[in-house]
Structure formats: C-alpha cells, structure tokens
Amino acid sequence: MTAPALVSLRAVGKTFPSGLVALADYDLDVREGETLTLLGPSGCGKSTVLRLVCGLASPTAGAIDWRAPQIKNNIGVVFQDATLLPWASVFDNVFLPLRLNRLSREAASPRVDEALAQVGLLNFSRALPRELSGGMRMRCAIARALVTRPALIMMDEPFAALDEVTRFKLNDDLLALKRRFGATIVFVTHSVFEAAYLSTRIVVMSRRAGRIIDEIEIDPAIPRDDDYRASKTFADVCRRASQALRVSIAEATP
C-alpha cells in the first residue's frame, strides 16, 4: 500500500523572468516516510523542485498542496554547500534554526547537543567551520537540518563536493539517521549509484522542463549495506536509472 502524500505538486510550472522555463506541468507526490531521489542531469530542474517545495521560490503555474501546514513550516534543508555561518561555532550553527524560532540557548542546548551527537560532532561543538573537514561541515549542516525535528528533509546534492570514501560514510550515516527519525527525505543528486543506494523511489527527470522520464521503486525493506551494493537488485536499479538518464540527456541534445 502506498503511503499518503506529505506534499503534492500539481501541474506546477516555473518560468524565470528571463523567459527560461525550468518546470512545466510538473506533477509529483512526496510520500510520507520515503526517501525520494530526484535524479537528472544539470539544469533539469531538480533544484527548482526543491526550492519550490521549501518555499524559497514560488511556482508561476499550478499548485503545491500540503497535507498539514505545520509540515510546510518545519522543513530541514541541506544545501550543496554546507552553508554555515563562518563566524559562528559548530554549536551556534546548529542552534541557529532554534534561535530564529526565539528559543533561548539554555532551552535549546539539549536539542543541539543531541543533534550534534547524532552526527558525531559533539566533541567539536566549539570549533569554527574552517577548522572542520568538508565531511564534518556537511555533518554540521545535517545536524542543523535535524535540530528542529522536521517531518521533511530536503537535500540538494549535499555530498557532491566530497570524496568517494567520505560520501559512502555519509550515505550510511544518513540512512542510520533516517532509521532513527523516520523523516521523509527528498534527495537531489546526479549520481546514479548514490540514488540507487539511498532511495526507496527514484524519479528521473528530463532536461526538458523537468518532464519525468522514469520512476523506479526500490523495496524499503532491503538492508542498505555493502552486500546491497554488490547485489543484482542494486545493479538492476543502476542500469534502469542510467538508461533513463541517457534518454534524458539525449532529449536535451539538439
């Protein structure tokens, strides 16, 4: 049985003032509890979908329907860059969403410490972002997204700039966090392997205004570990996603 939609995009369009059509007539349901990956080449509108759902941009056509308004007001976001305040400590960066929600430092402290502990940064709470590695900065950004305990977490190519080893480690950490919190995750990437490993559903998008080329469901019950990476299921998902991606790129080529 399919889980109910947390948020639904109905015939959504986004045209920029320059006339560039990023999305046209786009439909998508984000189902409760899933890890949905938007996969596609650069410029296909993946990040636009994410920005529209987050409320950082407004659609020029169509509608975005939320199952409950409180979900819309508490979304965790992890951007492509860690986007940390360079002058603030790790603690203060994670504290930021709660501070903006007018929570005192004393009241917020246990939640901040909990979020830092979950990403393994509790011992670095006083460090400044520049003292951290790229992977640790991204962990800090994930802790910041988790600290408000959101029902929906949006991640825009968060591990794209990291090396393979760090990326694998963070993929596993993200899955562990997901198991603990059960939050719905929308993940944007152009890596087929990352999509196949993390997702319970992959939506492959075309470069032509975000048309959906393929939708791949992956059994959420399958444990995500090294065995899965070596399995036939994983290979099949990668093959199917790659084929869809090839179609997507071919569509965009004049």
């Binding site: 920005r51 976001v77 951007f79 986007t83 002058w87 903006l100 400044l128 520049r130």
Partner: protein
Amino acid sequence: MRKKRRTIQWRDIGVPLAVFFAALALWEALVRWKNIPPYILPAPSVVLDKLIEDRELLFSSLLVTLGVTFEALVVATVCGVALALLIAQSKWLERALLPFAIVLQVTPIIAIAPLLLVYMQPDNAVLVCAFLVAFFPILSNTSLGLASVDFGLRDLFDLYHASPWQKLIYLRLPSALPQFLTGLRIGGGLALIGAIVAELAAGASGQGTGLAYRIVEAGFRLDIPRMFAALALISLSGLAIYGALAALSYVLLRGWHESARAQDE
C-alpha cells in the same frame, strides 16, 4: 608551527625598522658630512633633541589633534554605519542620499575647510573636516558588506522565517564586518589627514592648537627642527592609528575570515 609564526612576525617588524634606522643614519651622516645648517635640513638627532625640548608643547598639541581625530572617527563610524543600514533597507533612500555622500567625498577637503572656518568655531570646523573625509569609506565599505551576503545563507534565513531584525543581527552585520573594518582602517587614517588639513587652514588664519598649527607656527619662525618634530609625531600617530585598527580587525576576524587567516599562515 608556532616557531614559524614568530619568525614571520619578527620579519614583518624587523625589516622595515632596519630600513628606517638605516635611512636615519644615512640622513644624519649626510647632514654632518655636508655641514648642512639646521634651518635648511636638521639632522635626526637635532629633531629628536627638539622633540625632547618642546615635549610639553608638542605633546599637548598632539593630544588635541588625536582627540579631534578620535571624535571624528567615532562620529563617522556611527553616521556611516547608520546611513549604510538605511541605504541597505531601501533603494529609494540609496538613490536619495548616496549622491550627497559622494559629492562630499569628491570635493577636496582643503577647499571645504576655509569655508567651514567662516561659519563655525575653529574646533568644530576641524572636527567636521575630519568627519567628512572619514565618513565616506566607512559608509561605502559597510554598504558593500551589507549587500554582499552569501545567497545560500540568505536562503537559509528565509527558510527559517527569520525576521528582518534577526537577519540584520545574525547575518547581515556579521557578514559586513570585514568590509566595515576595512572602511574603518581607511577612515582612521583619513580622519587624521582631515584634522591636519583643517588645522593647517585654521593655523593659517592664526587660530588653532593642534599639531598642524604648530607646524605653521614653526614655519613662520623658521624653526625647521620643530616642524620636523611635529611631522614625526603626526606620522607616528598615523601609524599607531592604523596599527590599532589593524589589530582590532585581526582580533574580530581571527579564526573565520580569510584576511585574518592569511596573517596566521
């Protein structure tokens, strides 16, 4: 690592000091060798003697000049930051106010000073001159900083529904700090120059008590060593102001901003 840092600091201070003392020694030797009279070119030792001899007069004048410089810098900082904040809030205010700030900046202060002396008491005229030259760099740099906030961080604050006040306190002001401090460093030096220029204008009309006035007064009396002594105090004051503001920048930006980081490495 610590040892390397110490070596770099020693080089930074030691090399210019060595060059400075070598130039002084050369100057002293040249004056003595050519037997140049002090009313044409005094030797550094004569200037130093004059500095010690006239210390009460010169240092009280120095305090007057530094007092004006400091007051002007404080007023320029308050007004510059306040106007930059206003400009950052509204394009209309920017269009309305910025041209006047630019007019004040591009009009030479030496041309404004005599006019101000006509309409104001000399002390106030000197203060206004120093303020006018220090104000613009602080305004323009702070405005630039307030407008240069990282787009990702802006999105983050929008996402968490930050109020305009929260954006100002937690994002825009800290983001603008490096540019503000650059403006403050430039403004500090310019405030001293503005004060000196206005004092020179005031001195020419027989009014004033600052160091520049002492230069004018010594010039009338052909007391060239005292002119050099006053000039040396002005230069040292300029260096001290720059050094103090550079140290303030380093303390506030240490650990997170590239400019302070470059000094560390």
